[in-house]
Amino acid sequence: MTKAEALSSERLIWMYAQMVRIREFEERVKRTFTEHPGVMRGHAHLGDGAEGAIVGALATRAEHDLVMPSYRCHGYPLVLGTPARNLMAEIYGRKDGVCGGFGGSMHLADPARHFPCTSGIIAQSIAHATGAGLTAQVKKTGQVVYCFFGDGATKQGGFYESLNLAAIWKLPVVYVLENNQYQAYTHVSLEDANEMAGDPLSQKAQAFSIPGETVDGTHVLEVFEAVGQAANRARDGKGPSLVEAKFYRLSAHGNAITVPPVPTQFPEHEAVEVYGNKAEYAEWKSKDPIVKFRARLVGNGTLTDAAAKQIEDRVATEMEEAVQFALASPLPAPEEAVKHVCA
């Protein structure tokens, strides 16, 4: 089933709730920088704006399918069922974090929920996902691997090598290119030859003669349909596809890079902070995937305003609880650090 029209109200509402959960989770991570200064270390990257791509894609998933994004990874495990509190605790560096405080924001993991581990080095996890596809194929598990990565990552050699390998071996992988218009501070028009020529980035699929499609990533159901088709193709043994979801990251790339003891902070989006281009930001902000989907669901009667509000409130409570849980969770004991080096 890949047709959006065939989705039940229940499923649509579930999708909406997941989008709201991602957004609220990211808001709470962002607020940590001011509400609980000193808690956040390193580099945290938020997925607000990507909710349509993440949920649209993952809504096509079968229970055992694998999900392998890169360092901007908070949203996916939320959808897979990892408790928000354990994710938050990880980002806060606590003992109750999903990785016991060893991984942090860039390296969330919950393999039991089909979310192995992520990489912070650009495009490297695309190769890992390709290998997960190999496992599925060799062991005939019927799994599809959902591989997410950014527009910037398509400039890294490993992306191309992986797609070729998946294509020649017909691996069951869906490559979801999250084109959020920026790699850190660099607009895609400054670094991508397709974009410069006015062509879609999904055209890169032609280098491997596999399907490549570009969809509106602010429209969760468009993503759902395109990724659903690609997933079916993968499940049918026909190999990989590239789906480009075009949307906009609504927060800055990540917290500002500071040298201790200067505390970490979360800046404005680069469009505003670096380029002073408020118009660009405002335009995309008006296409907020959550606002759009809510309007649609309320508009067609799937959801009442009150029901939507109820979801939002429930999510707010869930995330508040997650923050409190994380704050209350102890830091790991220092000596723990020597564990987990080898299996």
């Binding site: 956040m40 270390r41 390193g42 990785c99 670096v274 000596e335 650090a337």
Partner: protein, 326 residues
């Protein structure tokens, strides 16, 4: 004439001055020079100052090719880990071309990267990878610990006719110090005694120099006079100055932020075991990171890294040995 500036400013000054001096110097990397306000872009224009895609193999490889054909590229790489996706270019292309061509070409290339960011960047962004670049014939590795060295070594690296990896420690970026203005070079291959002492030699680089100096102050209070030697370049390695110091003190502690067997400390200890053995009154001691990847959470991260206390206790342990017995 010197001026107080931050480490980061000192590096910028070196690049600025060298670009001014030599029109063949070009400067490029990811996420730099994005707007017209960028001082490099303003001064040197879009041809010589460029923003690159996330393509380290092409960035560094193009640097090698450009250097072979007449430019002097400085490639901004941000973190030493990001070189790994293009590591063939770093250790098997740039430093080999001159030799393989029988001395016909040269590769004046600077690969600039930060490292060691012990601030919660976790397993893949906080590493000290210099050991992978040591001992590669044809490749130089600079690793400053002060703003003055930052400028002097970077200037030397840009003027060098060979590939130089220039590694700056992220935890030092805001440190201030007096930096000579104008033409100022710290030659590659010359260690610096950051603190003179008589009882024990501490060899350390980058952030660890700072920690070692702090430890030395503490030790002084207890009557131990520590000499702190900063090699400043790991390739070429100034074994002579290090052995000279050991000759004077008879004791050696090596401090390194990397895990023990991937540290510069181990290599230096090896050199001293050969060239300074007769001067040693006690076994050398290495104070390094524990054998773990870098964990995210602060107490874990702190636990695995060397610190003042660990340095002090290592120095005390070598001071306790009065003879060669162990």
């Amino acid at each position: 004439m010197a001026r107080e500036m931050m480490f980061a400013e000192a590096m910028a000054a070196a690049i600025m001055e060298e670009m001014q001096r030599d029109p063949n110097v070009v400067f490029y990397g990811q996420n730099m020079a994005m707007t017209e306000r960028d001082p490099f872009l303003k001064r040197f224009g879009k041809e010589r100052v460029r923003i690159t895609p996330i393509s380290e193999t092409a960035e560094i490889g193009a640097g090698v090719g450009a250097a072979m054909t007449g430019l002097r590229p400085i490639v901004e790489l941000y973190m030493n880990e990001f070189m790994l996706v293009a590591f063939d270019q770093v250790i098997n292309e740039a430093p080999r071309m001159r030799y393989m061509s029988g001395g016909q070409v040269k590769v004046p290339l600077v690969l600039k990267a930060g490292f060691g960011f012990a601030a919660g960047w976790a397993g893949q962004h906080s590493n000290c990878l210099y050991h992978t670049m040591m001992g590669i014939p044809g490749l130089k590795v600079a690793i400053p610990s002060t703003p003055a060295d930052a400028k002097g070594l970077l200037t030397a690296a840009i003027r060098d006719e060979n590939p130089v990896v220039y590694l700056h420690h992220y935890m030092l970026m805001l440190d201030k110090g007096n930096v000579p203005e104008g033409d100022f070079i710290v030659p590659l291959g010359v260690a610096d005694i950051k603190r003179a002492g008589t009882d024990v030699t501490i060899v350390a680089t980058a952030w660890m120099v700072k920690k070692s100096l702090a430890a030395a102050e503490e030790l002084a209070k207890e009557g131990v006079s520590a000499e702190v030697v900063d090699p400043r370049t790991l390739a070429p390695l100034d074994v002579k100055t290090i052995v000279g110091s050991v000759k004077k003190t008879g004791r050696l502690v090596l401090v390194d932020q990397a895990p023990r067997q991937s540290s510069a400390a181990a290599v230096i200890a090896g050199e001293v075991a050969e060239h300074g053995f007769g001067y040693l009154k006690a076994p050398v001691r290495m104070v390094t990171a524990l054998d773990t990847p870098i964990p995210y959470s602060e107490p874990l991260e702190r636990y695995v890294l060397p610190d003042e206390e660990k340095i002090i206790s290592a120095v005390k342990s070598v001071m306790a040995k009065q003879s060669v017995g162990v």
